[in-house]
Amino acid sequence: MKLPESISIRDGRRCAIDRVLPSCADRYRAYQIGLAGESPYISTQVHEVKTVETLREQAQVYLDTPGHIWLAVLDESNGAQIADCMARITLREKMSHVATIGVGVRQHFRGQGLGRLLMERIIDWAVEDPTIHKLQLSMFAANTPAAALYQSLGFSIEGRRVRAFRHLDGAYDDEILMGKWLDETESTR
């Protein structure tokens, strides 16, 4: 993967994809707080976002650990982070062939194909890693656009954890689990 990568999104705005670096932890934190505040489909609440120091350490771990990757998308007009995607293998021997993915896009950059683009980068990265054989992710059941995106990328539903999420108003939502087995031939290209 060649990074940073400069791209044009559907509406013409320019963005850059790069790894989340320890030095960018404060920028990431501002993004995460914005996302947690505007999206009901994030399991982290605003006040649960980690400290800059913790995020800096986390970014270093993602840089140093095999089977880990963490990408950020920046708005080139102002340098703000507007999306991210992370994947990491499970640190248990029997699950070390499975990588778990998380993806987020800020509201004002939705509907521009960024989620798909990031997912494609992650899938290509995983295919290149000979230790990763399966990708998994989960989402709020009400988040149907996300489900459609993942299914179009070859993920299938593996389960539904009933009332696994409780929103702040007390309403529950189910969690949908999805998985994708990677064959040697698999690629988004």
């Binding site: 399991s43 982290t44 609440q45 649960e48 248990r92 021997e93 029997k94 699950m95 070390s96 062939h97 499975v98 054989h133 399966k134 998994q136 539903i157 593996e158 389960g159 539904r160 954890r161 009933v162 009332r163 696994a164 999420f165 409780r166 929103h167 702040l168 689990l177 998985g179 087995w181």
Partner: protein, 188 residues
């Protein structure tokens, strides 16, 4: 509300032996660690294996979380030797949107399997969770091939929620599916 006082209960097993069932407490780390290592090396039905044994510090940190209501652990002890022969734990999530769910892990050493101990541990720990404030949902994963455990969980009230395909790889390279199960213990 925290689980009721850590009363020691003597449970008679189907083969006439008995075990002491009680909540884990300070000072248990060594015997629980020995048990986890013995279990991980004796069965391929749990996540822990010989290549992936936990450090004793992790067990100790779990025990320290118990009085704060952040972890639940029940052990069955062989009164003759003082060793742990079976256990049941519940982990609680940290984030608010997930905090109402508790994740079950349990096991029984081969020397004490097939005599009803797993079921006793399961029932006792579910009862404790029912009186645990804020817990509505109990969940677990079990190997698809582990039909004895799956039947036990079903009888206790767990319902299948899905199958994670080839999500576990045994040390010999075999892939296995995991079944995810849950039961609701909160108000419906």
């Amino acid at each position: 509300m925290k689980p009721k006082a850590p009363a020691e209960q003597v449970e008679e097993l189907r083969d006439g032996r008995s075990v002491i069932v009680r909540h884990s407490r300070q000072g248990d780390a060594e015997r629980v660690h020995a048990y986890i290592c013995a279990l991980g090396c004796s069965t391929d039905t749990i996540l822990t294996c010989a290549e992936d044994l936990p450090p004793i510090e992790r067990i100790q940190s779990h025990i320290e979380m118990i009085p704060k209501g952040q972890f639940y652990s029940l052990v069955a002890i062989d009164p003759a030797t003082g060793t742990v022969v079976g256990n049941a734990t519940f982990r609680f999530a940290v984030r608010k949107k997930l905090m109402h769910a508790a994740d079950l892990g349990m096991g029984v050493l081969p020397s004490h399997q097939g005599v009803g101990l797993g079921r006793r541990l399961l029932e006792r720990s579910i009862d404790d969770m029912r009186s645990f404030d804020g817990i509505d949902r109990l969940e677990l994963t079990v190997l698809a091939t582990n039909t004895i455990a799956r039947r036990m969980y079903e009888r206790a009230g767990f319902v299948e929620e899905g199958v994670k395909r080839r999500s576990l790889r045994q040390p010999d390279g075999r892939y296995e599916d995991e079944v995810i199960m849950a039961m609701w213990v909160g108000e419906s």
